[in-house]
Homo-oligomer: 475 residues x 4
């Protein structure tokens, strides 16, 4: 789980279905070879009809326009299926509409015997032979009124199914490639979301916010007040569906506590006086676009926009969770890894936990969360936990040794940000305590250093740190 | 030359260049490895710098966002080059950024030794190995402010150059594939063009109209009057650039003369009373999208829109030129093909041409055009020329034997239209006489028959004909 | 209380105030004669400064543009005042900025001595002399960023205050005249409200709906579903503020029960199949536009729009409350008016109420509302109550004898509608029982009869009735 | 003939008429008392029908909505009339729909006998009695699809007619008052006009530009280039009709020659480098809004916008003609006013004109315009003519003694501008030589001084001058 995650909440298919039915009537109504009514689970007897329709689409029977209509009808049929039926539908696509084996083999032969001059052409021919017909079928679903969203959701479904059934993996990969081309960042539109935005869009923002859940329309309105900004990327064919969005607070200085930022009773600040823009929540909204990245573009575009609008803002930073910190720490505590606490820290903790005895061990303390309301304990915990958090962020790597273990850290470090400050008691929500013992981190985006930071991180795994964090690490 | 053609007229690059310069300043201004100023012809010494930049783009040095900035700068550099320089730039892309030979060979080996289960994965891996890096570079140019138009124009240039230099063909094919994905008809927006449309768009319409040239703003305004319609497809990233457009006249009955339709002094008709919609000009506007077809979608969308707006319209038909008719006929006349004229026709023509002797031969008459002002001659010519035109449209095929020789006929017959009527003295402009001896044809779009017509034509080369045209063919 | 009423709920002044402060900084910041900070109650000592500023506005000191800036600052000052302060501010405007007595008297003299030819000019001069300077001041408040809304709200305040203090009445009348000119129906924009409308607008719809209160965003979304319509009039200068709106249900036949219409669990109907459009709620949203009527225009525009969009809809009718029915009936029951119930009705009621004795009297029954859950009682009540409701709507008049006593009836009858059907147990909400014993009425809008119905009603007080209602009246 | 050329100015009435006919069909088609077909000159027999319709409108026969439809039909009838017919139509409105004499007299009586307390109410009643019914009729024309434009054009017609026929003056005054309320500056929308603006709007800009005529679409495009700005005020109900517009050049320093500014071959400047914004043409576009001023608002809004967009611009000034200068000077030359030229000036002129003798007199020289191509003469003329121009602008007043004689000077001085510089040989067009001997003037808008300048000018007739102009005046 990470700051950047996806949610399955909205089920827009019912409205979509209604529109598709209309579409179906319009386009396929007078078809002489109508799509038969399908059993929800797609009975064996339905499969032949399905194959025939898929082949008619590919052959563009009746011309390109009719083929699109037929594809739309197939899309509608797909939406009417049960989970089992959909899996079968996808399996037909994956298994029976791949590259033609003979054509591929012939093209491989031709390549083998091609002269140097002929080689580029032979390569192109082989590549064409390898392009599976199902890719053309997927493209045709674009004819549905909400065809792009249809394909994005189909990929989400495919990813889930392909995890269990490797036969679907090539189809999933084809669809990913198609979506990656269509969702090139050059086609995305950055929009500021305000209280004047369509309710249909705001509803999605509420559903998709997974980092700091939105409690309702009042909470949302508060996050759209004059000292807040919410930006999202959209695709022109999915105008009501944010792809990724970021929530920003315009404040006087680098924020260190997220409950303060979200407090609906806090007075509204004057954005003209703001000196810091805090990115306190970033959410990917479309599971089906997993692995097609535009988060880095979003952040830099927003930094650019804000720095033009508000001349006083000098600091662009996040206030981010460390979603894997507690898990990482607990593993070490369970193993009894030596040297996690310094002697001084250990003494302070023992003193502060008083008569607690074993219940006063770091592990027990974190499990109970009672320290939150015990000022002495909280103070004694600050030094070791912030130091360990800094270590977790900077030294712990995924297999391979370059990428940070923490997914949020990896995202921002890849973007060229710097670990600027570790904040103690920064997120005291249940989730914040469970994931990261209340610790949060500011990643700083300094446009002058971003490229160099990115290179050092992606090439060498080197994490950019502020002197403050460096000092913390040294204890 | 055809009804559906392209023109090179507008040279929007100057304005584009200005915007690019700004872009360049913004994005690449603080680059530590700046694009060097290039010699217009791209001197040999420039090539190394160019290669280095291209490789930096591919490596996403400094991160994805910086890579896009770098690509934009490269695009700017490309635009500043001479024709020679551009050809060299493209040759570098084509020759040095193709698929990696070793990776391809390894993937071919892996495919050869793959088990049946492993084969789909091995195919996908080979396809990935065959995907040339230059494709990623082309995609990155999308970062330019008018990046999509940039790539469309680059393909137009590539098509011209590749005709002479086959080394460029694979690059051209890559670009075509990219554009075909981006310009999928599902992403296009149909817009009605009116006198309230932006002047910037209207200016392009005037420049791109190649079938019946627009004489100026007054002529254009006349073509946008209340009894006329002009529809165009646009791409969201090229809002001022029509991709294809069609001009329609809403009239009382199927029109048989194009000068009447274009006459600016004719009274404005009442569209509510119209019973026929005549598509009198269809123009592809972007040479760089050659081979990526959406004309059939345009016509059917417009038929759909008009039939909803005007309930009385029953007839949807074109008024089209026969661009290759005279050329085809002259070849036969030169060869002295027997039986071109029936005995009756020959007698009538001899009588009408009176003392002209040899000058009265069909070939001479057509070359002189004087028959236009000689009623007797014109009348004597009608029977043979309309009959021959019908034969030309329906019986003359391209190599392969299925597709009509005439390109406009092929377009409409592929769409499922029917040859409805041959019109005598229908286009007496210089161009109309030179290309088709003044003959024009109505292709009828009857939605009930379109699919069947398309199938019969594309499968068997069978041309749908009205009974009137059938009778004409029988003489 | 009526179907058409106003609500004081939203207090948008806080946001407005914030924007005004910005405005103030911009415009009046460098004024050499700044508006002094005012005591909330507007102390006696503040009044001189206020007068000076008002006079400076009138004199356009520094030019028209500066005068507008000054007016905006005065508007801001007004908004910062307490209720007492505002009353004083308005009293100054009303009492000290009326017509100049001497000028009026001179113009009266001139009129008296004018010849017939001179009279039109003398009349115009007198009219000009009577135009109070405060009208010019009111107009200048239009310079505020939300100046039109400011004036609308000021009139709402004035109406309340003028009821107690007649000195304010002429100022209120001036403002009404100004708003009537600005809100001429020709300037209003009809908009359909959907779930894609700005949340800022939807929020207002929820606040202003007073006939059938909206329970929250989910209820609102339900009222915007595909088988519902919501239309509102807007003024270009108040884009987030609906002026009046109507909610419509597209259903199969004339609806007779409002709880059914509002039921969020009811299945969504197919609007294409609808044969009736039921206007089930009409709300005036701006108290300050009281007496400036556009409800009739709204209904007829919506009828027009819907009849173009849905060809099957034949019936356009309301489902309306009878807000004064119970009050009217209770007065008669208290007085013991003879003959309210027929002998048959009385017997049936006695029988149905069984052992209730005096508690079974009509008056007691209505007061208790228990009849709702007693089928026999409810059935026995239907005949007398629907008959009495029909009598109430058609025969009971306001003083003057022409206008219907019931305000909702008066509105629709003025518009030319017909009393079509009285519905029993049609609104069983607490409010529906309290106001109209659960009875509702359908007013039918038949475009062919509207003008004649209007003339008969407005000229003679004659109420158009369906034959069904006529029969009901006859018992 | 060129592709890009101009069209004889728009005659929008034909399009309007067409739309009105549709409107007429819709609204008045089923009227039981239809507007009879009228003779173009409005025969005596037509007048009774007209009066009846006007009275039906006033009585709102059939309700308010029908009354609007009736008014629209009357408007259509008006547009179909000849000039004579329109004059008669307007005379009926003016003479027969004025205030009711008896009501006025009664209200005058009531005022005379009112107590102090009763007086405000009596004044309001008298004012109501004086409000002519024709004002309500005028308002109802707002129901026409382009009703506001209709009324603006009607006032232009009335102004012309009222000059000859005083009976129309009160009607014209009523209409002016109505338009002044509707066109309050708070309702106007400032728009920047670009090459992406609708051709329908650009066409109007070309037609309405009267200061420096636009030569065609190419000239217009040049005036919309990146170093130019064109702003216009619009009314929401007249979206294609600019009310007033200003053309601005963004240049390096205060411009002194208008041909240089308009030169289409001049290189495009970089607006980011501009230090001066030169307002070189301001045009009122609607004759019917004469006397309803918003020019001052336009200039200050544009100054405000530009100073936000371009931080380097320090100078906001006009480059303006002196339309009455030659006329004023010639009168003095004809009268032989002594001392027009100083002795030095006279000597220089005599020397420069060499052997011209009497033809070398100032009057003769100006009449011939030959001096333009004679450098010596031109140089000798500079000193006296710029000095006299400065005198003309600053010392010559209209009757009353406060307002500048020159209308352009009066406009800018009222706005608070300063006479900054007199430019010699600044407009050598035929018109520029004929009106102002080629002299032009820069009026400077310095926001710090505008209010004080305005007060000094409007109160005392004092003209703000730069030190350079002061020096020039002293000779």
């Amino acid at each position: 789980m990470s700051e950047i995650r996806d949610i399955p909440k909205p089920a827009p298919s019912s409205g979509l279905l209604a529109r598709l039915k209309g579409m179906w009537r319009e386009i396929a109504g007078d078809d002489d070879d109508p799509i038969p009514a399908l059993a929800p689970d797609l009975a064996e007897t339905d499969l032949d009809g399905l194959r025939r329709q898929l082949r008619a689409c590919l052959a563009a029977k009746g011309g390109e326009v009719s083929a699109r209509g037929r594809a739309a009808a197939l899309g509608r049929a797909y939406l009417s299926l049960s989970a089992t039926g959909r899996a079968r539908f996808l399996a037909v696509l994956a298994e029976e509409f791949g590259p033609d084996r003979d054509s591929v083999d012939r093209a491989v032969q031709a390549l083998a015997s091609a002269s140097a001059d002929e080689r580029p052409k032979a390569e192109a021919a082989l590549r064409a032979a390898l392009e599976p017909p199902r890719l053309r079928l997927l493209t045709q679903f674009n004819a549905l009124p909400e065809g792009v969203k249809f394909l994005v959701d189909m990929r989400a479904e495919l990813m889930r199914l392909a995890a269990a059934d490797p036969v679907l993996a090539p189809l999933e990969a084809d669809l990913k490639g198609l979506l990656a081309s269509w969702f090139d960042v050059g086609f995305l539109v950055l929009e500021r979301i305000t209280w004047r935005s369509p309710a249909a869009v705001l509803e999605k923002i509420m559903a998709y916010e997974a980092v700091h859940a939105i409690q309702g329309w009042t909470d949302l309105k508060n996050r759209l007040d004059s000292d807040r900004r919410l930006y999202a990327f959209f695709h022109p064919r999915m105008p009501d569906e944010p792809l990724i969005f970021v929530e920003v607070a315009l404040v006087e200085e680098m924020a260190g506590n997220v409950q303060d930022l979200l407090d609906p009773t806090a007075p509204v600040g004057n954005p003209e006086q703001a000196q810091a823009a805090i990115f306190y929540s970033i959410n990917n909204a479309q599971k089906g676009l997993n692995g097609i990245s535009f988060g880095n573009f979003l952040i830099k575009r927003v930094v650019d926009d804000l720095s033009h609008e508000f001349k006083r803002i000098r600091t662009f930073a996040t206030l981010s969770p460390l979603p894997g910190f507690r898990k990482w720490l607990d593993e070490r505590l369970v193993k009894g890894e030596p040297g996690l606490l310094s002697a001084t820290e250990h003494r302070a903790l023992t003193r502060a936990s008083g008569g607690l005895g074993a219940k006063g061990s770091l592990k027990a303390l974190l499990a109970e969360s009672d320290w939150v309301v015990e000022p002495d304990l909280a103070q004694a915990l600050e030094a070791p936990l912030t130091r360990l958090a800094a270590r977790y962020l900077t030294a712990e790597k995924r297999p391979g040794g370059l990428q940070a273990l923490d997914p949020v850290a990896h995202f921002h470090l890849s973007n060229g940000a710097r670990v600027e400050r570790i904040n103690w008691m920064a997120d005291l929500s249940a989730n914040g305590l469970r994931q990261s013992a209340g610790v949060m981190v500011n990643y700083l985006y300094d446009l002058d250093d971003i490229d160099a930071n990115h290179e050092a991180y992606s090439g060498l795994g080197k994490v950019a740190l502020s002197s403050r964090v460096k000092a913390l690490l040294k204890g």
